[in-house]
Amino acid sequence: MDIGIIIAGILTLAIFTFLYRDNPIYRLVEHLLIGLSIGYALVIYWQTTLVDILFRPLFTGGKPVLLIPLVLGLLMFSRFNSRLSWLSRIPIAFMIGAGAGVAIPAMLYARTLKQVSASVMPLIDDGGFHIEALVVALGLLSTLAYFYFSREHEGLMGKAARLGTYFLMVFFGATFAYTVMSRMSTFIGRIDFLLTDFLRLIG
């Protein structure tokens, strides 16, 4: 039998032992997984980022402007020296600032404008009365009331917010159930591997 399958099978069973309780076997494979996946990431980032977009263009492609990110990146190492560690804030500030700048229009477009405009539907048209349009509007407006923070939820606002929680519960229930299928499939896949490839009970 393929040595790879034997190893994979043993590791699979070792991780399942966690379901009983934390134990030395799980602990060993957990640390193996952490170590190997860190090592894997190091290699991939080294190759696809540092070599492909930094070193090669910088040293052989004649792009001196890449000295900027190189210096910014090296500044991160100042964290190991307590007197210089404030320097690492410069690259961090760059990353946070750039991310925040993208986030404003992107969030407003995808998470606000698109969502609002997709919720607008005619209540009545040639096809008659659309109960769906009413449900969507009620759900959206009442859930927004739930997310209204600068007032206590009393009176009409309280009632609307309460209706909002019902819609939220429908969403949570449906999402949970929808995802069950996928989660079970993954486990079924592991059982398939154990029974078919590892134990060879199924041909």
């Binding site: 966690f18 997984l33 991160m76 690259p91 998470r111 449900v135 859930t143 519960m169 989660r183 993954t186």
Partner: protein
């Protein structure tokens, strides 16, 4: 200096990225892709810093005699992968990829599959009809669970349709409200960051 320089850099990076969103001009786009590249490069260096800190703290624990075998395994794993990559490359049939396919990938898939068990135990204790809200949660979950497997079609053709209706109307509307709220919360947070009002990341002296 220690405070002001990062705030200025944060503002400049933020303002440039905000403005480029609205511009299809080649200059704007090349600035955008340059910043993306810089971002990735800085991240890669930071990864080195994070891994170095992780290794350092493990070595410290080992020298104290704590959990020696486990920590040695983790460090061995970190060292092994780059060595394999240097020896045999990272393409198909390399030892590096062999370890990935036969050791890392099965372990990841198995940790992922633990979710099936946790879904089961969470269902057992989480879906209790304590009040009206909890009952709605419970009822919706039951309908959709049945509606997703072949037996639903056997019970009634309306079952899968009901599932679909719930997903597309009441459930979708609540999801939209959540997304709108997150969008607004993210927007104001990002705005405070760019203006330097939000300085969580500058803390510590």
């Amino acid at each position: 200096m220690k405070q002001r320089l990062p705030v200025i850099i944060c503002f400049l990076a933020g303002a440039i990225m905000f403005l480029q969103y609205f511009s299809p001009h080649p200059v704007a786009r090349s600035v955008y892709s340059a910043i993306l590249d810089y971002w990735q490069i800085i991240f890669a260096f930071t990864l080195l810093v994070g891994v170095a800190a992780y290794v350092k703290s493990n070595l410290k624990q080992i020298s104290r005699g704590q959990d020696i075998p486990y920590r040695l395994v983790a460090i061995a794993g970190i060292i092994l992968m780059p060595i394999l990559a240097i020896i045999g490359g990272i393409k198909i049939d390399s030892p590096f990829l062999w370890v990935f396919e036969n050791v890392i990938a099965p372990m990841q898939a198995t940790v992922f599959s633990l979710l099936a068990f946790f879904v089961a135990s969470a269902s057992f204790r989480g879906f209790r009809a304590r009040n009206l809200q909890a009952s709605i949660l419970l009822g919706t979950a039951l309908i959709v669970l049945v509606g997703r497997v072949p037996i639903a079609d056997m019970i009634s053709e309306y079952f899968p349709k009901l599932t679909f209706w719930i997903q597309n109307y009441p459930s979708m509307s609540a999801r939209r409200a959540i997304l709108i709220g997150i969008g607004l919360g993210s927007m104001t947070t990002a705005f405070r960051v760019i203006l330097g009002i939000e300085r969580t990341y500058l803390k510590g002296e």
